[in-house]
C-alpha cells in the first residue's frame, strides 16, 4: 500500500498539471501584494491571507479532483491495474494506496503554500511596522499558528474531497465523469448548509427528509473555516480543532472504505 502511495505521489508530482497549478498558486499568493490596491474592506494582512488561502482552496480542489481521477483511471485504462492486482496486492491496498498518494500530494501543496503565505505575511507585517508603527496594534499582528491551522484545515478539506472523488471513480466508467462529479461534490459540500437552512425554513416534511439526507451524506465544508482570522486571540479551542479533524478523517475513512467495497465489486 505504501509503495502504491509513493508511486502515486511521484507520478503526480511529475505531471505538468501539478507543476502548473503549484506555480499558479505561488504566483497568486506572492502576487497578492500587488493586488492590495484593489482592497477596500479588509485589513491588508487579512486580505493577503484571504488570497493565499483562496489559492489553496480553489487550485487545491482542482488539483485534488483532477489528480485523483487521472491517477486512478490511468491505471485502469492502461491495464497496469490488472498487472498489479495479479500480484499479491489486495484491491483495498490499491485503493487506499491511491488515496494516500493523493493525500500526500495535497499535503505537499498545502505545506508549500502555507509556508509561502507565512513568509509573505511576515515580510509585509515587518514593512508595515517600519512604515506605519501604529498600523499594527500591539499583540494584533499575524499569528503564524493560525496560518498553519488554516493550512491544515485546507488539507483536511482536500483529503475529504480526494476520498469522495476516488469513491466516484471506483464505480464510474470514465475519467471525465469522475472529474465532473468531483466538482459537483465540492459544490454540494460547500452549499449543503444552505440547502439545509432552506429546507428547514420551508418546513415541509419531504424537504426535511431531503435536508437530513443531504446533510448526512455530504460533509459540510463550512466547518473547515475554523481558522478564518489572523489574530492569536481568535485561535479556536483545541477541542473544536480535534472535532473538525475527526470529522474530516471520519468522512475520508468512510468514503475510502466504501470505495474499497465499490472497487471490489467492479469488473476491470
Amino acid at each position: 500500500m505504501w509503495l502504491i502511495a509513493g508511486n502515486t505521489l511521484r507520478e503526480a508530482a511529475r505531471q505538468r498539471f501539478f507543476q502548473f497549478l503549484l506555480l499558479l498558486a505561488f504566483t497568486l499568493t506572492f502576487g497578492a501584494r500587488w493586488l492590495r490596491d484593489f482592497n477596500f474592506g479588509a485589513p491588508e494582512l487579512k486580505f493577503l491571507a484571504d488570497c493565499g488561502f483562496g489559492a489553496m482552496a480553489f487550485l487545491g480542489a482542482a488539483l485534488t479532483i483532477a489528480a485523483t481521477a487521472q491517477l486512478f483511471f490511468s491505471e485502469v485504462d492502461n491495464r497496469t491495474a490488472l498487472t498489479l492486482l495479479a500480484k499479491p496486492v489486495w484491491r483495498a491496498e490499491f485503493v487506499l494506496g491511491k488515496l494516500l498518494g493523493v493525500a500526500a500530494l495535497a499535503a505537499v501543496f498545502c505545506a508549500l503554500l502555507t509556508g509561502l503565505l507565512s513568509l509573505v505575511l511576515a515580510w509585509r507585517e515587518a514593512e508595515l511596522v517600519r512604515l506605519l508603527p501604529d498600523a499594527v496594534a500591539p499583540g494584533g499582528g499575524v499569528s503564524h499558528a493560525m496560518v498553519a491551522l488554516g493550512g491544515l484545515m485546507q488539507w483536511l478539506r482536500l483529503l475529504v474531497l480526494a476520498a469522495f472523488t476516488l469513491l466516484v471513480a471506483t464505480f464510474a466508467q470514465s475519467q471525465l465523469f469522475s472529474v465532473v462529479t468531483g466538482f459537483l461534490v465540492l459544490v454540494v459540500c460547500h452549499l449543503q448548509h444552505l440547502a439545509q437552512d432552506a429546507y428547514v425554513r420551508a418546513g415541509s416534511a419531504a424537504g426535511l427528509v431531503a435536508s437530513a439526507l443531504i446533510s448526512s451524506v455530504f460533509p459540510d465544508f463550512q466547518v473547515f473555516q475554523i481558522a478564518d482570522s489572523l489574530a492569536a486571540a481568535d485561535l479556536p479551542a483545541t477541542g473544536d480543532v480535534l472535532r473538525v479533524t475527526l470529522y474530516a478523517l471520519g468522512y475520508s475513512a468512510a468514503a475510502a472504505g466504501l470505495a474499497v467495497v465499490s472497487f471490489r465489486r467492479r469488473e476491470i
Binding site: 493586488l35 484593489f38 482592497n39 477596500f40 474592506g41 479588509a42 487579512k46 486580505f47 484571504d50 488570497c51 488561502f53 483562496g54 489559492a55 489553496m56 482552496a57 480553489f58 480542489a61 469513491l167 464505480f171 465540492l186 459544490v187 460547500h190 452549499l191 448548509h193 444552505l194 437552512d197 439526507l213 446533510s215 448526512s216 451524506v217 455530504f218 460533509p219 459540510d220 463550512q222 466547518v223 473555516q225 475554523i226 478564518d228 482570522s229 481568535d234 479556536p236 479551542a237 477541542g239 473544536d240 472535532r243 473538525v244 475527526l246 470529522y247 471520519g250 468522512y251 468512510a254 468514503a255 472504505g257 466504501l258 467495497v261 465499490s262 465489486r265
Partner: protein, 272 residues
C-alpha cells in the same frame, strides 16, 4: 406489464445500483455519527465569525465563485469597484444589486456596510427624484416619502450588519446619522447615539452629539443631566474629549433652563 416489472426488478438488482445504494447508506450512517461529533464545533464556528450571508437573495455567480474558491475578499473588492462604475452612471437597480452582492460575499468589513447604507440613504433618493422629473417637478411630500423609504432601507441594511458586527460603534453612529438627517427622528437618533456611546472605543463626539440631539428634541433637562454625568469622566488633557466645550454647553443649558446658580453644575476640582 410483467415484462416491465421484470425489467425494473432486473435494474434494481443490478450490481451498480446496489453499489450506489450501499454507498449512500454508508455515507448517511457516517454522517449521522459524525454530526453528533461536529455539532459543538459548528455552533462555535458560527458564533465566532461572520459566515457568508445565507439569507441574501441575488448573490449570483460572484457569490458562488467566492464560496467555492475562497477568494471572498478579492471577489468582494472587485465587485465593489464594479459597483462604483455603475454608481457613477446612477443606475439604481445595478448599484443596489452589487451592494447586496458585496455584503453577501464578504460581510466581514464594516466599510462595505457603512458605505452601502450611505449610498442607499443619501444617493438613492436623489436619483429617484431626478428620475421622477427633478426637484422642481416632484412635489415635496413625494420627495420626503422617497427619502424616508430609502432611509428605512438603509437602516434595515445596518440592522443586518449589526448581527455580524455587534460591537461596531461606527454602525450605531451611522444609524443615528441617518435617523437624524434623513428621517428627522431626533428621539431615535438620540437613542442610537446612546447605544454607540455605550460600546467600547466610542469617540467622545458621540456623547456630545447625543446631548445636542436631545436639546434639539426639546429634552433639555435630559441633555443637561447627560452632560453633567459625562463631564467628570472626560480626560482634561485629551483634545478629542473637549471637556471645555462640554462645560460650555452645560452652562448654556443651565441658562436656557434657568437653573439657579447654587444648583448649577460644579466641575471636579472647581473651587467652592
Amino acid at each position: 406489464m410483467i415484462y416491465r416489472l421484470k425489467k425494473w426488478l432486473g435494474l434494481l438488482a443490478s450490481r451498480r445500483l446496489i453499489t450506489v445504494a450501499i454507498v449512500i447508506a454508508g455515507l448517511a450512517a457516517t454522517g449521522v455519527i459524525l454530526s453528533a461529533i461536529i455539532a459543538p464545533a459548528r455552533d462555535s464556528i458560527r458564533a465566532r465569525q461572520p459566515a457568508l450571508r445565507l439569507d441574501a437573495a441575488g448573490a449570483g455567480q460572484g457569490a458562488a465563485l467566492a464560496i467555492l474558491g475562497g477568494f471572498r475578499a478579492l471577489v468582494a473588492d472587485f465587485a465593489w469597484i464594479r459597483m462604483y462604475t455603475i454608481w457613477e452612471r446612477r443606475d439604481l437597480p445595478g448599484t443596489e444589486m452589487l451592494l447586496r452582492l458585496v455584503t453577501t460575499i464578504d460581510p466581514r468589513p464594516v466599510y462595505f456596510w457603512l458605505n452601502s447604507a450611505r449610498i442607499t440613504a443619501y444617493d438613492f433618493p436623489f436619483w429617484r427624484v431626478l428620475a421622477a422629473g427633478g426637484f422642481e417637478t416632484v412635489p415635496e411630500d413625494v420627495q420626503r416619502r422617497l427619502s424616508h423609504e430609502q432611509a428605512r432601507s438603509a437602516l434595515r441594511g445596518l440592522e443586518t450588519a449589526m448581527r455580524f458586527h455587534p460591537g461596531s460603534v461606527e454602525l450605531w453612529v451611522e444609524r443615528a446619522n441617518i435617523e437624524l438627517n434623513r428621517l428627522g427622528d431626533l428621539n431615535a437618533a438620540a437613542e442610537s447615539y446612546r447605544r454607540a456611546w455605550e460600546l467600547p472605543g466610542a469617540p467622545h463626539y458621540v456623547a456630545r452629539l447625543r446631548a445636542e440631539v436631545l436639546r434639539r428634541a426639546g429634552r433639555r433637562a435630559e441633555a443637561l443631566e447627560w452632560l453633567t454625568r459625562l463631564h467628570p469622566t472626560l480626560p482634561p488633557a485629551d483634545e478629542g474629549a473637549a471637556a471645555d466645550v462640554v462645560l460650555g454647553r452645560i452652562r448654556d443649558l443651565e441658562r436656557e433652563l434657568g437653573v439657579p446658580k447654587e444648583r448649577s453644575y460644579r466641575p471636579p476640582g472647581a473651587r467652592e
